[in-house]
Amino acid sequence: MEIHKYEKAWLVGALVLIFFFIGTIAYVSAVVGVDMVDDSGGALDVDEVSEDERFADPRVEQVGEDEYEVYMIAQQFIFRPGTHDTVDVPENSEVTFYVTSIDVIHGFQLVGTNVNTMVIPGQVAEITVEFDEPGEHGIICNEYCGDAHADMEGLLVVHPEDEWEEMQGGDG
């Protein structure tokens, strides 16, 4: 079989392109550490959320030097914490969110980022995020969850380190 030189070039080019695509994704996965949302959060009984020690008192908890865990309940039409009070974390921290719903399916997304997961009743959505820079990130529900879905939002504040230390000092 005789293959034209342009066809050969195309075959090689297409192969190179495929390896290039896979390579770029492998790079961010292996070197940068970007990960996907998975089911590692596990399940829990939706009627017993208030008895679960993580969600009885939804909160931000420090679990390591620069490691924090956020236990959050999404419900019609608020995030707890998030809507009535902000979620506060310091810069240069690694924050793991555990989010569950007590009524219908909600979404949890930091606007404009890939920090984005479904929040399903009976399931715990677990995602770990690195916050390297101070700033504010809106939290929105991106799954239609009822009449006031469009108003379901919250706020996450990444504080500069000095401000964070002041806040900690103020709290005692």
Binding site: F21, T96, V115, I127, T128
Partner: protein
């Protein structure tokens, strides 16, 4: 109808669709550039990102 007289046989290697090649090359280049821009914006531009 006269067209037959203008037909010309060329060999396999004489077929040289340089215009098509250029078009595909440009398309290829656009694809690669768009991928890199998307990839950079999605993963490397410094915003918060999921790591676990």
């Amino acid at each position: 109808m006269g067209t037959e007289s203008r037909e010309k046989e060329i060999s396999h290697d004489e077929f040289d669709p340089i215009g098509t090649l250029a078009l595909i090359a440009v398309y290829f280049l656009i694809l690669v550039v768009m991928w890199i821009v998307m990839w950079y914006a999605e993963f490397l531009d410094g915003g918060p990102t999921v790591v676990g």
